[in-house]
Amino acid sequence: MRRNGRGAMATIAMMVLVSASLVSRTASAQHIKRIPLPPSQNPTNADLPIAAAVWVGNTLYVSGWLDPDMKADSDTKSQTAGILKDIQKLLESQKLTMGDVVNMHVYLGTNPATDGKPDFSGMMAGYTQFFGTKDQPNKPSRTTLQVVLPAAARGALVEIDLVAARP
């Protein structure tokens, strides 16, 4: 009886050794996976030398994102919501949710409707539909900057890039 107990102990010891060495091996090698741009961010299907996002282990780095429908969404609030809705789709395709966003950069362009002054409260009105809500209480760290957006000529008022992490 006692000898059987020791045998079981030896088996457990071996299992711990093997599983611990397997876990350390997977953790040390950073798995990298590059996600191509979706049609919403590359409507002309051009051969652009950038990725939509890159997985590094459990962290996803997402490129600067624009509202796919800038023509219809002509104010900062609706463009912010449009961007976040489209990013949500990307995250869902990667089995992530908005609650997995950990860091965000919001770039506000000059706003023609207010003599160039960026519409911060409009951005917040779009943002708060997705973060800090009853259904999605998680809030990311965030930096908001006023810049000149490269896509301003196409009607962009706001651009967002972010980092998400697999829970």
């Binding site: 950038i50 490129s63 490269p150």
Partner: protein, 165 residues
């Protein structure tokens, strides 16, 4: 007793005497370094070509991820257009990454800060020389900003994140 099991190996002997506390100790010894190695931090000093900024690292390793500071063309005097400065910056970044045993193919995210709207085309042309013909496309954001180094002739600045494969 030894007559019963004369073939006891040292490992069997240890296991024979092993108590649950030992098992726990082995587990902690194996898993402990794992959490420590995921946090390994190393500062890489700013190369001289990037100027002397005593309070800033050129880059910081966090585990297998390298966070690189904003980078300028080391030769702002000679390179007076955006395309040649873009080539100058990426050439210098390539050298820096190589010193850390990385290549431009290990870059996962880039922020390009460009001083003027007129610079986008030159930036795209310079960027394509380094990333157009290789399969590893980084995530990327391009912005137009007011550059702190503009008065020294800087037309763009780039920061990036790279990962040890």
């Amino acid at each position: 007793m030894w007559l019963v099991r004369p073939f006891l190996t040292p490992f069997e002997f240890y296991i024979d005497r092993m108590r649950p506390e030992h098992l726990l100790l082995v587990a902690v010894m194996l898993i402990g370094p794992l959490t420590a190695s995921a946090q390994a931090r190393k500062q890489v000093p700013l190369p001289q070509a990037q100027g002397i900024l005593p309070d800033v690292s050129g880059a910081v390793w966090a585990g297998n991820i390298l966070f690189v500071s904003g980078w300028l063309d080391p030769d702002l005097k000679t390179d007076t257009d955006v395309q040649s400065q873009t080539v100058g910056v990426f050439k210098d970044l390539k050298k820096f990454l190589e010193s850390e045993k990385l290549t431009l193919g290990d870059v996962v995210m880039i922020h390009a800060y460009i001083g003027s709207e007129a610079g986008y085309e030159g930036y795209r042309a310079g960027y394509a020389q380094f990333f157009g013909n290789q399969p590893n496309k980084p995530a990327h954001t391009t912005l137009q900003v007011v550059l702190p180094a503009a008065r020294r002739g800087a037309l763009l600045e780039i920061d990036l994140i790279a990962v040890r494969p």
